[in-house]
Each structure stands twice: as structure tokens, then as C-alpha cells.
């Protein structure tokens, strides 16, 4: 092995390695740089040149032209000098840049962005990209005003403004970025939001609890600047998801068949254990035997004394309409029924639900008919009222006629005394008859009739008619259809499925903190350690379930562009890393494999382990140096990993060297027989015969023939 490298070949090889590594580094970083600058340009194209634009407006594609016209109008009329430019359209959404002229880059303008762009046709929102700026994420509303004031006092800050839950700090110049970031971080450090979370089910008066907690803290740590700032802002998505899961479980639970167990005296049921019931099966339960396929298996969910609740996890009582009362037994995990533990009541909730729905459907059908009939009735009533009123008027007229008649009689205007008498008698008789029918009434029937408020009656009738019309307008048929659909599409879930779902949800929820009420305390100055706080607050509130978290009042984020540039930097480093690997494999196969196969042949089979080691080291040296020199960095790949990868690549190439680069043994043997040294054989015979490549090129310097 060493002999092979004597007389100059070592030098040749060192030069080869050096050049290989340098070219590899240039190649890898070059490719990475090219990709990087390509993307860099693309990004400039996407988000504009630095500081050119302040806002990206997202517009529905179909409204693009209208939006553009409107934006240009706003630019021309309200903010002379403003720039509008269209950029890429992604997934049905067009994007416009909007850049305010310098004098309009103020907090007032930035905070009124929603108002300014509200009327743009097809607007789907906007993203603020004003530069140079620092983004503070998640600024708690309780500190926003104070924070704005303090941040605007920092040198280099032009102004700060609210953008949703974030705050953007606009700088005079990019050069202030680091200093301002540092100072903003210092300011943010002075605010701490101590958050107490109560598990679900706890009803907490956030006001009172907040005051209580402040007292507890001050008792423990002396007076501090504390404020209850519990906000009504909603928790994050996970919280929402967990809440949804809890709701889902509750729904499923209410939907599952009810299993009420009455345990026998001396029997203690425990949560989670399995019991078995005959259910609707024909197979009787026999202690000491195995349970049948269609027996109901029940898991105990809750135990209170001798009462327990459970859920069916195998089998179904879907066909049952009435409550089932049966004996219940213990079930061993191998399926053996061991003993009677009590009795159970099973109720098919879904049957009950279906029943209820069917009942209400009947009702709805009736309502529909009723409305129809009522409408007819009102119409009739109106007609009757009309007749009635007509009759009343007639009655009035009659009375007047009769009064006149009476007067005429008494004044002797009648034709004859006989006639007068008869009429008088008749009239008196008539009035008396009417009076006799209603002796207790103080008013005469006529008066009663006259006192009826016909108009009021009419208007209330009209009201009823209207309401009935409303009922008819509500498309009762459609509602009936919907409810029927609901009934039919009620999940055709068996108890078994419900049971399994509930268990699945329980398993998932077991590891999660279920969001409940929360109380937030703003702590100014020295922050409190939530780990220390937790036991104190638990004790103080006498509630062992409350959890304490420390939330920052805001988090400084690098701005979008530097974030993207950082990302690009990462991508570049990764590409360089990948290129280093590709380069190493390539150069080993194309160039070094020739050396490897020569070495293997010259050293012979017995010393092949040396060639393996040699190849592995060569691979590792090339890869590692190229990797480091090209500034490569693949995420999660550390230098030792690169070294090992290089060893592996080198080893594989050495083992397969003859496949990649066969050498002509006859020529080598001729060289040996002619008294050529190994380096001469390499230079004059092996390398010139190999593939044109780096090694071949370098060899030209030394090659004599």
C-alpha cells in the first residue's frame, strides 16, 4: 500500500485531492448560489423590491380589473404618488402591491388600512409588508397602548401600529433593526401575562377570581404591579378542537343506549371493567361458561355506590323499543362469565329519539292542516262580522224607526187609536221578551249589542289571519321534509360503534388539557415563575386543578423578507450539502474509481481491506471538506454524520470500482515488466486510459506520452 504511494504518486494524489475538494466546493456552493439567486429574484418579483411597497392586497381573481381600477383611483385621488402593481395570481386570488408615498407612511394611515381598502371590489384581505420594520406577534390587548408609546420613544423607530393581533414597528432605517429589536425585547420582558387555566366544567367568575389571585400574589411576593386583564379572546385552534371533541363525546354519550346498573350488595364495580348482559340474544347467560357472540358487552363508565353507568361496547339493542331489564354479569377478558353482579336497565336512546321525531312530524302535519282550516275560519268570521255589523246598523235604524213610531203614537199622529194600541202592545211585548231573556244584565240586549267594538274585533281577526298566513308562508312541507331527512339520516350507528368512538375520544383526551375558563393577570416588572406560582395559587384558590402558564406580552419576529432570506439561506446550505454529496459520488465514480481498481489489482486480494479503508477515507475526506468549504448545512445532518456518509460512499465505490472503471490488467502488467514504477504506471498507462475527467486533466502535466 505504502509502496504504491512512494516515488511521487503520493504527491500526485494529494494534488488531485486538493483540486477535487476545491472544485467540489466551488461546484456545490455555485449550484446553491445559482438556485439561491434565482429564487431571490423570484421573491423580489413576488414581494417587490425592498421598501417599494407597503401592502399586498388579496383580491378574488374575477374582480381583478375592477379592483385595479379602484386601487388606481385611490392612489391618484387620496394618496397622490402612491404605487399600484399587480403581482402573481395564486389559486384564484390575484395580488396587488400598494405602496404609499413617503408622507403617508404614518400610523394614522396604517391603522386605517381596513377602512381605506374596505371598498375594493373582491377584497379578501391584505398583508402588510411595510419595510423596514419589526413585527411583534400576539401583542396582548392590555399592553398595546402602553407598548406603542414606549416603542415609539426608541431611537430609530418611526412609528408603531396595530395590525390585527400583531404590532408592526416601522423603522427609520434598516440599520436600527438590531438595536430596536433588542430594546423592544427588553420592554416586552417587563410584561408578563400570568394565565390560570381551569379545567372544563369549572365556572369561574373571571373578575372575582382575578382579584383573588392578585391578592394571593401580593400576599406572597409583596406589592407588585398587577392587573386582571382576562380577555375574551378565544383560545387557539387546538383548544377549539379539544372542546369540539368533548362536545362530540357528550353528543355520542347522550346518543348511546343508556345503561343503568344496580349492583348487588357486596359487589363493587370499578370504572373500566367489563360486564355482560343477555340483551336481545336467544342465548341465556350461564355463569362459568363463555359469553355468546350476540351478548351485550358493557364497559363501566362511572360508579357511585351501588349505582353505575356503562356503555355498550359490543352488541346492539337497536331493535329494542322498550326498556330492557336484565341481570348483569362479570366478564373475564378471555370471555368467561364469572358471576352475577346485579341488574341493569337498558334504554335505546336512538329509538326514543326516532319516536320523538315521528311524533313531532305528526304535529307538523296537523299544524299545516290547522293553518289551512284556520284561514278559512277567519275568512268566514269576517263575513259573519260584516253581516253582523250590517244587522246592527239595521237594528239601529229599526230603533230609530220605532222611537219615531212611539212618538208618533203618543203625539197622536197615528191613523187610528186601534192601530196605535196594537203597535204599542207589540213593541212593549217585544222589548219585554228581550228583557226577560237577560234579567241580570243591566244593559238591554240592544245596548249590549251596541257596545260591542266591532272594529276591534275586526282588527284582531285580521291579526289572526295574518299570523295564520305567516304559518302558511313558512313552508311547513319543507320543514317536514327536512325533519324526515334528519330522522332517516340519523347516524345508523350501532351501540358498539358509539362505544368504540367514545373510548377513542377518551383515550385522546386523556393526554390533553381541556380548555376551560382562563384568567389572565398582567405582571409588570420582575416576572414571576409560573412553576413557583402554581402551587401557591392552587392553595390560595383551594383548587388543585388550576394550571398556571406564563405568556409573553408579545414576541418579536424578524420581518417577512429577512425571514424569507433566512429560509433561502437555509435552502442554499441544504442544496450545497446535497451537491457536495452528488459531487463526491460523481468524482469518486468518474475519477477515483480508476485509482481504486488499480490499487485493488496491484495489492491483490489478500490486502483488499487496505483498499477498502483507503477508499472510505478518500470518500470521507472529499465529502467532508467539500461540505464544509461550500458552507453546506443540511438540517439534522451534523459533521460526524457527513464524515460517516463519506466513509460509506467511498467504501461502496471502492467495492464496485471495477464496475465503474475497469483497468486493463494486461497493460499494467506490461508496465511492470518494463520496469515502470507504480507512479509511472498510473501516469502513463492507467490514468490516460481512464475517462476524461479531473484526474485525467491534472495528469496531463506529468504525462510524457
Amino acid at each position: 500500500m505504502l509502496g504504491f504511494f512512494r516515488d511521487g504518486f503520493f504527491k500526485d494524489f494529494t494534488v488531485l485531492m486538493l483540486v477535487t475538494v476545491i472544485i467540489g466546493a466551488i461546484f456545490s456552493s455555485g449550484v446553491a448560489w445559482a438556485v439561491d439567486s434565482y429564487f431571490g429574484d423570484t421573491i423580489d418579483g413576488m414581494i417587490g423590491e425592498y421598501g417599494e411597497f407597503d401592502i399586498i392586497l388579496h383580491i378574488r381573481e374575477e374582480a381583478r380589473e375592477a379592483a385595479e381600477r379602484e386601487l388606481k383611483r385611490i392612489a391618484a385621488e387620496q394618496y397622490p404618488g402612491a404605487k399600484v402593481d399587480q403581482t402573481i395570481t395564486i389559486a384564484g386570488q390575484a395580488n396587488f402591491f400598494f405602496g404609499f408615498p413617503e408622507e403617508f407612511r404614518t400610523r394614522e394611515v396604517m391603522e386605517s388600512l381596513p377602512a381605506i381598502f374596505n371598498g375594493i371590489p373582491g377584497i379578501n384581505g391584505y398583508t402588510v409588508i411595510i419595510e423596514p420594520s419589526i413585527l411583534i406577534r400576539g401583542v396582548h390587548s392590555s399592553v398595546r397602548t402602553e407598548l406603542t408609546e414606549r416603542i415609539e420613544a426608541i431611537t430609530g423607530v418611526r412609528f408603531a401600529f396595530k395590525d390585527g393581533v400583531n404590532m408592526l414597528v416601522v423603522l427609520e432605517d434598516m440599520q436600527y433593526s438590531r438595536d430596536v429589536t433588542e430594546q423592544v425585547n427588553q420592554i416586552l420582558d417587563e410584561y408578563q401575562i400570568l394565565e390560570l387555566r381551569f379545567p372544563i366544567g369549572f365556572e369561574v367568575d373571571t373578575q372575582l377570581t382575578g382579584e383573588e389571585v392578585i391578592d394571593i400574589i401580593e400576599n406572597e411576593f409583596g406589592p407588585k404591579l398587577l392587573k386582571n386583564v382576562t380577555s375574551l379572546e378565544h383560545g387557539d385552534d387546538l383548544d377549539a378542537f379539544l372542546t369540539a371533541l368533548v362536545e362530540m363525546r357528550n353528543f355520542l354519550l347522550s346518543y348511546a343506549s343508556k345503561v343503568r346498573i344496580q349492583a348487588d350488595p357486596n359487589i363493587h364495580l370499578i370504572v373500566g371493567e367489563r360486564l355482560v348482559v343477555q340483551g336481545l340474544s336467544d342465548a341465556k347467560i350461564v355463569v362459568g361458561e363463555e359469553s355468546a357472540q350476540d351478548h351485550l358487552v358493557i364497559e363501566v363508565l362511572a360508579v357511585e355506590g351501588q349505582n353505575a353507568e356503562g356503555i355498550i361496547i359490543e352488541g346492539s339493542i337497536a331493535a329494542a323499543q322498550d326498556t330492557i331489564k336484565q341481570d348483569i354479569y362479570r366478564l373475564r377478558s378471555d370471555g368467561l362469565i364469572t358471576e352475577r353482579v346485579g341488574s341493569v336497565e337498558l334504554e335505546n336512546e336512538r329509538y326514543k329519539l326516532e319516536y320523538t321525531i315521528n311524533e313531532s312530524l305528526k304535529l307538523l302535519h296537523e299544524l299545516d292542516e290547522l293553518a289551512h282550516e284556520a284561514h278559512l275560519a277567519v275568512d268566514n268570521a269576517e263575513a259573519i262580522l260584516d253581516v253582523f255589523q250590517e244587522a246592527l246598523i239595521q237594528l239601529d235604524l229599526l230603533q230609530i224607526q220605532m222611537r219615531k213610531l212611539n212618538e208618533g203614537i203618543t203625539q197622536g199622529n197615528a191613523q187610528s187609536v186601534g192601530e196605535q194600541l196594537i203597535i204599542s202592545l207589540l213593541l212593549n211585548g217585544l222589548f219585554k221578551n228581550l228583557a226577560a231573556a237577560n234579567e241580570e244584565q243591566t244593559e238591554t240586549p240592544i245596548e249590549t249589542l251596541e257596545n260591542l267594538d266591532i272594529e276591534a274585533m275586526r282588527s284582531s281577526l285580521v291579526n289572526i289571519a295574518d299570523q295564520i298566513a305567516n304559518v302558511q308562508e313558512i313552508d311547513v312541507q319543507a320543514i317536514i321534509y327536512q325533519i324526515e331527512h334528519l330522522r332517516d339520516s340519523l347516524p345508523q350507528m350501532e351501540d358498539e360503534d358509539i362505544g368504540k368512538s367514545i373510548r377513542l375520544i377518551n383515550t385522546y383526551l386523556a393526554g390533553q388539557v381541556i380548555p376551560g375558563e382562563r384568567v389572565q393577570i398582567l405582571v409588570e416588572g420582575e416576572p414571576l415563575d409560573e412553576k413557583v406560582m402554581e402551587p401557591i395559587i392552587r392553595e390560595g384558590l383551594d383548587n388543585p386543578y388550576v394550571n398556571t402558564y406564563s405568556v409573553s406580552a408579545g414576541m418579536v419576529n424578524p420581518d417577512a423578507r429577512s425571514e424569507i432570506l433566512r429560509l433561502l439561506q437555509e435552502i442554499r446550505a441544504t442544496i450545497a450539502g446535497i451537491m457536495a454529496v452528488i459531487f463526491t459520488i460523481g468524482i469518486l465514480i468518474l475519477d477515483h474509481a480508476t485509482i481504486f481498481s488499480t490499487l485493488k489489482w496491484v495489492l491483490g486480494n489478500r490486502r483488499k481491506i487496505f483498499t477498502w479503508i483507503f477508499g472510505a477515507i478518500v470518500g470521507s475526506v472529499i465529502l467532508t471538506l467539500v461540505y464544509i468549504l461550500s458552507g453546506a448545512e443540511i438540517p439534522y445532518v451534523s459533521i460526524p454524520v457527513v464524515i460517516i456518509l463519506g466513509l460509506m460512499i467511498g467504501f461502496i465505490v471502492v467495492v464496485m470500482a471495477e464496475k465503474f472503471s475497469p483497468v486493463d490488467r494486461n497493460e499494467i502488467m506490461a508496465g511492470q515488466a518494463l520496469g515502470l514504477s507504480n507512479v509511472q504506471i498510473m501516469r502513463e498507462i492507467v490514468i490516460p486510459a481512464s475517462r476524461p475527467g479531473l484526474m485525467n486533466l491534472l495528469n496531463r502535466w506529468k504525462q510524457q506520452f
Binding site: 494486461n666 502488467m669 508496465g671 515488466a673 518494463l674 520496469g675 502513463e684 490516460p688 510524457q704 506520452f705
Partner: protein
């Protein structure tokens, strides 16, 4: 000038050469014959250490070849001409370069090397083909280039490993003619491995018959072919008679 003592070489369990002894004087032409696989090639390859023997001694002018340093070995090889069965020419080099390149690499002036190479090529009748690539020559011509290459260093010892074995029968003659002439005109010591019985009878001072890694018979062609003692010798005798 060359003495081999108890030379052995094994490939795994196979004893390719099994205790060979021979003594060759300066200017002598020794032909080694024997059936295929009996260890002839291995034996002569051991002489210039193209194959490293396991045991034994190879003494050339009082020096044990097996104990030479790397540098001394190279120097020794330059004085030994070696002709291969498969010619082993360098495909990418011209005929002339094939014949002279090792001289230049050994430090000889290019011009002188060229002159000597042209002379050697003339000796094998290829003076006009100097500019061709080996691939454009016939097998016989290629082997003659191989011979010229072996000759050009004015070797004191020439080793021939079946120089005609891979040639068309009609091309064998031209190579044998060159060889015969060389044997007759130069005083170089020659060790020739060949199957050409009549050629061997004509040029050999001594014939060694090998079988299974051992020398089974040695003597002048008349002795070996006229009155063979070994099984192999008897076979060769029959071959000539037929």
C-alpha cells in the same frame, strides 16, 4: 546467470509451482514445455516478480531477486525482456511509442530512444508501421511489436510466455521466424515457454518438461524427444512421430 532454487507458488490450495529448480547459463536458450496449467507461466512470471513466489530463491548474477528493494527490482526488470502471450501493448500509444516509452521513462534521451526503437522495429520487420496504433495491426504484427519492445532495452535475459499461442496459425510463422533469428543473432539468454515442438527442437539448447508444477524431465531436444523418461515426454515423442 540464472538459478532457481526450490521455487513454489500456491493459489489457495492449488500448488501452481511446486519446488522448481533450474540453472541457466548465459546465452543459453531454454524451452519450457508442458500441458496447460502445469505452472509454466507462473514460473517465468516469478523470475521478474510479476508474480511473487511463496518460497524459493531466484538468483541472477549472484543476487537474490526476491530480496531486491523496490528500486532495484525496477532496475532489474528493465534488463529483462518479457514477451506476453497476449502482446500486452498499450492501446493508446503508437507502435513507436509502445516500443520506446519505457526507455524515456527510465531516463533515456528521447532522440536516442526513438533511434533505438526504430532499429528494434526494423529488426522485427515493422519499420514502416511505426506510426500505427496496435489496434490497426494484425496479431502477428502486434506480437512483433511486443518483441521489439522487449528487445529495445538490450536485455540480458528474455522471457517468452507462449508468444504464438494466441495467434492465427498462418501468423505464427512470421513470429517464429523473428524469434529464430533473434536466438541465432543475439547472445541473450532466453527462457521460452511454448507449445511449438519443432521450433523448440530447432532453437533449444535445453528443454524442460513440466507437469503439475514440477519439472519432470530436462535435457537437449534429442534427449527429451528421442528418449523420453517421463509420461509427458513420451506424449511429446508420440506427437512428433505422428
Amino acid at each position: 546467470m540464472l538459478e532457481i532454487k526450490n521455487l513454489s507458488k500456491s493459489y489457495g490450495k492449488l500448488k501452481a509451482v511446486d519446488g522448481v529448480d533450474m540453472k541457466i547459463s548465459r546465452g543459453e536458450t531454454v524451452v519450457i514445455m508442458g500441458p496447460s496449467g502445469c505452472g509454466k507461466s507462473t514460473t517465468i512470471r516469478c523470475i521478474n516478480r510479476l508474480t511473487e513466489p511463496d518460497t524459493g530463491e531466484i538468483i541472477v548474477e549472484g543476487k537474490n531477486i526476491l530480496e531486491l528493494s523496490d528500486k532495484e527490482l525496477l532496475k532489474f526488470r528493465r534488463k529483462v525482456g518479457y514477451v506476453f502471450q497476449h502482446f500486452n501493448l498499450i492501446a493508446r500509444l503508437s507502435v513507436l511509442d509502445n516500443v520506446m516509452f519505457h526507455l524515456v521513462l527510465a531516463g533515456l534521451d528521447r532522440q536516442e530512444a526513438t533511434a533505438r526503437a526504430q532499429l528494434a522495429l526494423a529488426k522485427v520487420g515493422l519499420a514502416n508501421e511505426w506510426n500505427k496504433r496496435p489496434g490497426n495491426l494484425s496479431g502477428g504484427q502486434q506480437q512483433r511489436v511486443g518483441i521489439a519492445r522487449a528487445l529495445v532495452g538490450n536485455p540480458e535475459l528474455m522471457l517468452w510466455d507462449e508468444p504464438t499461442a494466441s495467434l492465427d496459425p498462418i501468423l505464427v510463422r512470421e513470429v517464429l521466424d523473428v524469434m529464430e533469428e533473434l536466438v541465432q543473432t543475439t547472445k541473450t539468454t532466453m527462457v521460452i515457454v511454448t507449445h511449438e515442438v519443432s521450433f523448440a527442437s530447432k532453437v533449444a539448447d535445453r528443454i524442460l518438461l513440466m507437469d503439475k508444477g514440477k519439472i519432470v524431465e530436462a535435457g537437449t531436444p534429442a534427449e527429451v524427444f528421442g528418449n523420453p523418461q517421463s509420461e509427458i515426454g513420451i506424449k511429446y515423442q508420440r506427437l512428433i512421430a505422428s
